[in-house]
Amino acid sequence: MNVGVVVFPGSNCDRDMFHVLSDVFNLNVHYCWHAKPLPENLDAVVLPGGFSYGDRLRAGVIAAHSPIIQDIKKISEKGIPILGVCNGFQILVESGLLPGVLLKNDSLNFMCEWTNLTVENNKTPFTNQFELNQKIPIPIANGEGRYFVDDETLDQLERKNQIVFKYDQVVNGSSNQIAGVCNDDGNIVGMMPHPERAVESEINPHDNKPSSLIFESLLKKMDVNN
């Protein structure tokens, strides 16, 4: 199974993501530079965290105009699983692939701490191994992580089961404590917390198993026996 990790100028979680996908889950991982076409043989794509273009203008907005985004749009229409983490989520939102917007945290602080998520939708390629409402201890690390949608869009997200993860308490002022959403088809998932920082027991002081299920869900979706 081939997974692409997209690298933008200013991505800084790309190597963590590469390490987890290749060394922990034994996948064939390829770095994909944002200015080049996306390789054609990919089975899944991950947009990692970081500070693309230094978060200038607005987190993710400049990267959303990168040439590779058009390729990602095309493959997303074929149902290929796409995961955006942190800045990757911001880029997916700014490119219109996911609804909503990510604003500065209510505290205006860069928040780097452990949170607890609850799984609200266990039908996506990244959550199919979870029980509904299962908890995930997982770290966040962002300054612009406050997910916002207007009331009309929020109704739509709830109606179409597009809310994938919520924080189990108020963290940063996000609408309805939303931490992650998916598109209407469910194959594109964006989340602010960092699963790649939580799947190994060596660096997870809580429980690394739930975060691992995010990637194990992808393996299940692709029918890969690890």
């Binding site: 203008l57 607005r58 907005v61 959303a64 105009h65 700014e94 909503g100 917007v101 604003l103 500065k104 209510d106 505290s107 205006l108 916002f148 949608v149 207007d150 869009t153 002022g173």
Partner: protein, 86 residues
Amino acid sequence: MVDYCVHVTIENKPGISDPEGKTILNDLVLKGTHQNVSKINTAKMLKFTITENNKESAQSKVREICDELRIYNPMVSVVTIDAFDA
């Protein structure tokens, strides 16, 4: 064709919280002697210099750029665009 200066002010729509504005109001201005201030909204301003035929076309061209490139996010922000002689 002459140069025009076009100011693009991006601010939150009404109802979208502006914690920075609130902090400046509550923790700076109202802690001084300026009790007649009731609200502060922060905004971002971009100053374009653009060569166009007239002020109106400079303004409309910059609006087009802002819309096309999502210089502001229409879900949460509004823009005010003002053109001046450079």
